[in-house]
Subunit: 286 residues, 4 copies
Amino acid sequence: MTHSYVLTFSCDDEPGIVSAASTALLQLGCTITDAQHFDDQLTGRFFSRIQFDTVRADLEKSEVSAGLSPVLTSFDATWTVTSTDERMRVLIMASKLDHCLVDLLYRWRTGELPMDVVGIVSNHPREVYQNIDLGDLPFHHLPVTKDTKADQEAKLLGLVDEYRVDLVVLARYMQILSDDLSAKLAGRCINIHHSFLPGFKGAKPYHQAHARGVKLIGATAHYVTGDLDEGPIIIQDVEPVTHRDTPDQLVRKGRDIERRVLAAAVRHHLTGRVLTNGSTTVVFAD
Amino acid sequence: MTHSYVLTFSCDDEPGIVSAASTALLQLGCTITDAQHFDDQLTGRFFSRIQFDTVRADLEKSEVSAGLSPVLTSFDATWTVTSTDERMRVLIMASKLDHCLVDLLYRWRTGELPMDVVGIVSNHPREVYQNIDLGDLPFHHLPVTKDTKADQEAKLLGLVDEYRVDLVVLARYMQILSDDLSAKLAGRCINIHHSFLPGFKGAKPYHQAHARGVKLIGATAHYVTGDLDEGPIIIQDVEPVTHRDTPDQLVRKGRDIERRVLAAAVRHHLTGRVLTNGSTTVVFAD
Amino acid sequence: MTHSYVLTFSCDDEPGIVSAASTALLQLGCTITDAQHFDDQLTGRFFSRIQFDTVRADLEKSEVSAGLSPVLTSFDATWTVTSTDERMRVLIMASKLDHCLVDLLYRWRTGELPMDVVGIVSNHPREVYQNIDLGDLPFHHLPVTKDTKADQEAKLLGLVDEYRVDLVVLARYMQILSDDLSAKLAGRCINIHHSFLPGFKGAKPYHQAHARGVKLIGATAHYVTGDLDEGPIIIQDVEPVTHRDTPDQLVRKGRDIERRVLAAAVRHHLTGRVLTNGSTTVVFAD
Amino acid sequence: MTHSYVLTFSCDDEPGIVSAASTALLQLGCTITDAQHFDDQLTGRFFSRIQFDTVRADLEKSEVSAGLSPVLTSFDATWTVTSTDERMRVLIMASKLDHCLVDLLYRWRTGELPMDVVGIVSNHPREVYQNIDLGDLPFHHLPVTKDTKADQEAKLLGLVDEYRVDLVVLARYMQILSDDLSAKLAGRCINIHHSFLPGFKGAKPYHQAHARGVKLIGATAHYVTGDLDEGPIIIQDVEPVTHRDTPDQLVRKGRDIERRVLAAAVRHHLTGRVLTNGSTTVVFAD
């Protein structure tokens, strides 16, 4: 039986890294089945995702890691190797709007999103989601007010630790994370927000977009950083709208874009296709 | 032989306007072949575009206007009626980047843009465009510096008057029009500019977009107003980009979007499909 | 309080129909809020959708119909008038693949699809859908074999009559309807199927598309006619794919397109925006 | 100064090829700047495109080839190595419709298409293109009738040899190439044709698409093979259309898609991004 692994790494762009990594894989008895590299010539940083198979039934991930480590260390690379059998442990956070939550759960059940959902956190009680089959998923009601925010975030972080969470997905979770929490979740927390041309700040963005007569509305999935809605972008998409679209219709069309952009970003993250590159990302095509 | 006309009007939304207008057309012996109405329920303003044919060979536009005038006046409408044989008189303004200019001229020659190009204005000399067949088109070199700007704009306005220009197209004309000139050209001057998610202000926008890792780049065609790049939007479009796209490639992809968005906006304007609605537009589909 | 209605009609293109209809509406005390007309110059057929409000609380639909009938009859029009409060009664049919079913139910619950779901029919038992909250919706298991097909379709037609079904949605229902049933459901049965460039007939279309190296996959929602998958098209959409996409990934991407194309087609039908025109359709923008 | 090269190869998927190739490049003093690999698990064929730099000013392409040859030969690979300074020699063929010709020439002059245009062939005389600045480009009028077809194709092939043509672009050249000529130009001749959902055979495809009420029209760029319009697909794209679009408007919209799809296919071919894979292609993203 074949075992399949994904190696991702980034390092300064020096000659020999591809040769060294691929030779190490060959010596481990592994066959490269897919590889994408990218050399950012503006920053001199090199990024790579290599998918490889082994037919050695007894090849453990620890052995793979041990075989790759000397090479990658010598290039001072940041790297991870994961078995495609491993599934990230994901915590989904939602508020009243449940379209992204419903969509993620559906794609998880059909196997489209290869993850283990370890729980759902909401600032609203479970009754809000009565039409959704949450099955046995642990549900955590963590209400939040200005005064209790620090406490609520501490509880949230407790869950992240307790469940050994690999990824937090903000599925239209309508609370702003503190800078401190954002920093602690850096690189493992994905958010979705609306995007317009031009952009709008403040409340009721769809109403602002309508007033301005935009002809495209969109959504952006990005990693959360301290700078709200400004973290490294993973996926973006848009849809055309017209003068006929009332603010309510913009909201409806926005829901469709939001859920498919968020699902695509999560899928790319889960399969090791997103590497951060300073304030931007390298997204290897799936 | 059939004559074809387009009536566009906007007025406060009161009962009876469609009935009155269509009855007036019936009495003139005209048949409605296409009509689109839009009632902006947020502002209480009604917009209409009615295309109609007449088989009366002797029906003059003045007679059509005279027949429609009482009805439209009684509703205090802003209105125009044009024969589809009439062609708007268009002045194209360009700078060194000629992709939009080339594209507009090609679409004009093939009949795709039903307009009369009455001249080209550039702040650069004709030699810049030596690979473009300008044919007999009058070419006006109007260089501009900070000190000569008022003078240059006066000359430009002189051309607009002299040629009885219906529409000025800023085909990547890289000079900012003064508030005064913008006001004088209100509703008859279309500009194209890049658009990103999120937006960027200042110089080298494609470089800024690259640094931010945007995954979509786009262009917006809009009417020029005193508020630069903020006039009523006519058409927008985007294309996906990836981490592989250098700033130079973003510029190249941007050119494609800019030229097709500008051409689409001009075509919609030329065929009476764009009605301004405060800070936004009603764009009737073609 | 305002009541809102939609009038749709088609008739031969003769002068005066818009004038007559809008005058009749005026006399009923109604205000046109949205209208789209289309004159098919190749066939000489005229299509119209007029949305109008009345402030007369006591205005019944029967009175509206009575007021419009003489005019529309005199033009020999095919017409319907519906209150926007009325909701179509919809029967959803599904097989094992449940992505379209799930999506339709979600959009129904959120109010995005203004319909009454009167039941679900499947050729598979209810257990197949155990992760979907079907609530109180009547579920009908109608298994089918070659031998029982006539009988099964009779039962299905019985349900259509019993529930006074306005629209049957084939949400990836994998059985081919007989010509007879298709004819009986003409104009009130919407199907979704995959579409490729070029098209493929026969089994495993996604595998055929992969073998041919198509770069776009899509879906088409259409009315069912005796000519399978060839009825009047309502909505189509596509997504880009690459050589990396295995047949399984094509299937996954296809699911996303299928569910959003089907939902859009159903929404347009429910809101009276689709008028059939021989083998094609007039779809008035929403 | 840096020299930049592109290596493309395909071979049976055996362990070690990436290691061996990248090690050979390292020994030549080259640095990989971009690489994309693809392992077609259905056919067991491996495809690769590796872009690399050398700072050795004296490194000749022959030396690069000599250094890579043993490795690639040992894996029985089909391979090419080209300097990014080398430009393919391109012959453009056109008929009366000149939109693709104009577009290709514009993109060539702006440097967007890195190629040497060695001539233009048309079955119509030069006068047809009087509004296009052909500059010093050799123009060959090769009229064709049923009787002279063999002769005309012989002349065409003579030009291909004489000019050492690397790529023939059929820019809406409306003559069908014979099987014999198609075979001789296999892999170095790109064609553009319209695509619809569903597809249509025979004359006036845009009229057929209109009659069928399609909601998307598109174009496909592909390599020419004996099986007309059925060669390996390189790029496809579509645009939405509506019931308002007459056949003439479909043709107009089709022109826009055709020219941008063709230009994209040519650009991908020129930069070594398209590898054929039986009846399909591997297209490495630009």
